[in-house]
Symmetry: C2
Subunit: 379 residues, 2 copies
């Protein structure tokens, strides 16, 4: 076996660079004030209307629309101040080498401003009432600086796990992801600070469900089939998606996504592949346009003769979701249109585990190897 | 620093022993039949009524009530057959070295029985309609054999993560949990197959929230404070609880539980410490009666002067839960009664992150070290 050569080395911005970029953003405002101008931020709009499907690059990305957040506009001044406040908290954390969570940032920034209104009454106002407000500001700063919160040392839940013939380096340690026994490597909130040194694998298998990941890991599917095994536990978080993207981009590994055969599973596949609407500004770093859907496909229900009593009736929500998917440009391939139409017609779904009807070994010894060797995936 | 010596070596049953125990259970039924007796299983009752608080051992455990599951009783015959079916699936998996998930077992066992009723009509019946049915049978087999499903090689979701100066061995690999960089070791579904070789730590810090775990890991709190860091991500799963228990039992490490200051957080602490009602038959292996609650305590809101706007109003559900906790014998200590009564009186809760109001470093550089060194925990 030939080890995969790295195609492209990835370098996350250093914390010095992060500090520089955050300071530069602050300096823009300072400069405006020093020149006697009205201070404002110019922020790429993160709304659905400014999300576009880039058919050449096959990802969802943010359009070019920008908004002005003006300190002297009544509607915008609070948000302007929130932006300055959050920027200062982020900078403080980086300068003092702290790793706050997004919730820590919410609390640290939360305080009460007392003021006297135009009728002389004492009033109070919170800097923010809800974490949604502070999270939105974090996202604004991400799009303005082009630096992900992960690069800024901001922490959040991390769901992903990975195993396989991969050697990474983190904080100076060389970690061999094939020597973790029954356990796995929990992907940290910022996988860009991991260096992927060596990969000795033929493909990456991304599994929707954690229990299936555990099973395939326990039986060392990844060793037998020479692959890297990853799970994002349902709807994947940013770290898992970033890890998948890096393995595709830096090592040219084919990526196969295994999900349940239902609208939610199809959607999860599309989030790995094309990005999500709510995080479209990050697709350029998180989406993996070459990812392939390996199943479970709607046609598999019939081709693999899934017993009738393993088939579940699709819910109204499933059908509504499937109709939406049908109209998305990133599901416009002939193969996907066929799957979705069949799903809507038969109104039937199954789970990955339904394949166990053919025996516990069926999934890992036949279904997956067969689909990969004969190229029966869907794009 | 002196490495912790192992007090007690733990040995999980080997797969040979598991097969023997499962076969022995089947043989009981065969013997009954061969002797011309009516076949039956004798199953410890897993209901709330048979759950008792063992005040000496300070855990919730199953009482001695047993039920007879009789093949020739109309009410019991289906469950009897389900038990034999599940037992055969578990045995097959072990004999063939497979690692099915509980959902795989549900599907593999699911089939339609066709029969003709007393009026000559063709009828059908499913072996089970719902995974709750098959899961209950798995639990029955666990209590009858005294072998946990994990020992039987049955897989399920695993949420836990661990880092620290701990060396484990799994599948022949020696894994150093202090050399994982920004990542962590994802605890496998069956931590009993891990051998804990060495521990060089003074205590175990169990964190409710994953994001806090990630933060403390990134800043290497565990290295600075010489501890083992674990998270079970909210309500802990069996594997995380088992891992905590093993560190307490085998290495005599003090265990500190850090949760939000609300009824859910207090309950999570009690699950680690005393066990849960629904899994009381496993408390003997999963509960850690010496675990201590390190916070966030209700009194901390006032002692640490948490700013007013960080305090959240307790919901009706919080208050109802707190009233229940007040009456549980495992919350009967003076210290806990004081906390719960204050909670009910003030109707105020806070999150761990609220401590960030005193700066990002407050939790890890002051709150935790101070509480541990001055013994300000709650039992």
């Amino acid at each position: 076996m030939v080890k995969r050569r790295r195609r492209k080395a990835f370098k996350a911005p250093t914390y010095e660079e992060v500090i520089e970029r955050l300071e530069a953003l602050g300096r823009v405002v300072v400069d405006q004030i020093m020149k006697g101008e009205k201070p404002y931020f110019e922020i790429p709009v993160r709304s659905l209307a400014n999300t576009i499907w880039d058919s050449r690059r096959r990802i969802l990305r943010l359009g070019s629309k920008k908004a002005i957040r003006d300190f002297f506009s009544i509607n915008e001044s609070k948000k302007f101040m929130q932006t300055v406040l959050m920027l200062s908290l982020m900078l403080r954390a980086r300068r003092e080498n702290d790793y706050p969570t997004i919730r820590d940032l919410y609390y640290t920034g939360k305080h009460t401003i007392e003021y006297v209104d135009h009728l002389g009454r004492k009033r109070t106002e919170e800097t923010w009432y809800d974490q949604r407000e502070s999270n939105a500001i974090i996202q604004d700063i991400e799009v303005m600086t082009g630096i992900l919160r992960e690069h800024m040392g901001i922490m959040h839940d991390a769901k992903g796990k990975i195993v396989g013939n991969v050697i990474i380096r983190s904080k100076g340690y060389r970690i061999d992801l094939s020597r973790l026994g029954s356990g796995a490597y929990a992907i940290p909130p910022n996988p860009d600070r991991l260096e992927i040194l060596e990969v000795d694998a033929e493909y990456v298998l991304v599994v929707e469900k954690d229990a299936i990941f555990e099973r395939l890991n326990e039986e060392e599917y990844w060793r037998r089939e020479k692959c890297v095994l990853i799970t994002g536990k349902g709807q994947p978080d940013r770290s898992t998606r970033r890890m998948v993207r890096r393995l595709s981009e830096e090592f040219g590994l084919p990526i196969y996504i295994l999900t349940d055969c239902d609208s939610f599973g199809f959607y999860i596949y599309s989030v790995y592949r094309s990005g999500s609407i709510s995080l479209s500004y990050e697709s350029e770093r998180l989406a993996t346009p070459d990812a392939k859907f390996i199943g479970v496909a709607v046609t598999d229900i019939y081709e693999y003769k899934i017993p009738k009593n393993y088939i579940i009736k699709a819910t109204e929500r499933d059908l509504k979701r499937a109709k939406e998917l049908l109209s998305y440009p990133w599901f416009s391939s002939k193969a996907w249109q066929k799957q979705l139409k069949l799903f809507l017609k038969r109104k039937e779904k199954i789970e990955i585990e339904a394949l166990s009807g053919h025996g516990f070994k069926f999934l890992s010894h036949r279904y997956l190897p067969e689909k990969i060797s004969t190229g029966k995936w869907i794009e």
